[in-house]
Amino acid sequence: MSRTDLIDCILGDWNENPEMQSICLAIVGYIHSTDSATLRHITFSTLLRESNTQSYEAVLQAAGYLSGSVRLMDWRWEYINDETGRCEEVDLSTYNAAKIDPANFSSPFSGTLEPDFLEHVYPYFVGNISRETPDKAGESNE
């Protein structure tokens, strides 16, 4: 999707919500003006700063829309060791299982059980500006 198409899409999808239009457009501006190395790991705090708002919920919703509906970004999760800052990707099966039983998961670094695994899991985003519209007719394997 071209940047122009993306902006048209945002303006149409959020035509009754100027705040969400503004946040989405700010994130689009950031993604399109940022180098590809940085786009491989965008934190939520970066999106919050670029959106110029303090509303976590509004930025989460904008990030969800831009990740899910228009595919400008991929939304991912990572385990962060609070002491060392080391990160490890968390897949969706683990995330969902940890929602049900958060005390049954270990730190990927120390191997010790965490009292609440989700306390150490954070969202991050991967910018996707060169991504084409997904194949609409073809099949793909998982």
Partner: protein, 210 residues
């Protein structure tokens, strides 16, 4: 670090923000079944919203109503198209952010006759739904107006019509135990893979006595 906004805090925010909850469901589906279950929970919310404002919707055409549904799904992180060509022009095509290959297709019809609904069901199950793994679930969105009588009766008769036309089809109640919904499953004519369709009435009757 994300300024303290970890998954635990996001999940807590989602407990009091239904739209955020639906969005997280859409973005954290680990399987096709989770994707479809999350989509149905969101569709239930959208249907309630439409029904709550039925005095504004009861004269809308199929496309306008369906575009409204598509718009609400898009706001909660589903990739949605209206009239996309997937074996024909499908009313609603929904893909998952978690896996591009996961597909759900919806066919939307104002109820004018059971034959008209049957035409839509036939298009959905034989043309639009690919009937391959993780592309084998869809929905019939049935808009009902005042001339149709009790919505519950329309759904009962629609189910009878399907039993008559497709004797091999299996039927079950939806998990929500809603009288205005049911599930049908039949093997896809090309792939043999079971395809499940959720039939959902959207009651837009508006005939105030005063």
């Amino acid at each position: 670090m994300s300024e303290g906004l970890n998954a635990r805090k996001i999940e807590a925010l989602a407990l009091v923000n239904p739209c955020l909850r639906r969005m997280l469901d859409a973005l954290t589906a680990a399987t096709y079944e989770q994707f479809v279950d999350g989509l149905y929970r969101h569709l239930e919310d959208v249907i309630k919203f439409l029904e709550l404002n039925r005095e504004l919707r009861h004269k809308d055409d199929e496309d306008r109503l369906t575009v409204e549904i598509a718009g609400q799904l898009k706001q909660c992180a589903y990739q949605v198209t209206h009239n996309e060509k997937v074996g024909g022009h499908a009313d609603l095509v929904v893909r998952s952010a978690c896996n591009d290959s996961w597909l759900w297709v919806g066919e939307a019809k104002w109820h004018s006759s059971y034959d008209y609904l049957l035409q839509g069901y036939h298009q959905l199950t034989t043309r639009y739904l690919p009937g391959t793994t993780n592309r084998n679930k869809g929905g019939m969105l049935i808009y009902l107006n005042v001339r149709d009588g009790y919505a519950k009766e329309v759904i009962r008769q629609w189910r009878s019509k399907l039993i008559e036309e497709y004797p091999a089809t299996k039927f079950e109640e939806s998990e929500s135990c809603n009288d205005l919904e049911f599930l049908s499953t039949q093997d896809h004519q090309d792939t043999g893979v079971p395809c499940t369709v959720r039939h959902m009435a959207i009651c837009l009757k508006h005939a105030p006595l005063a």
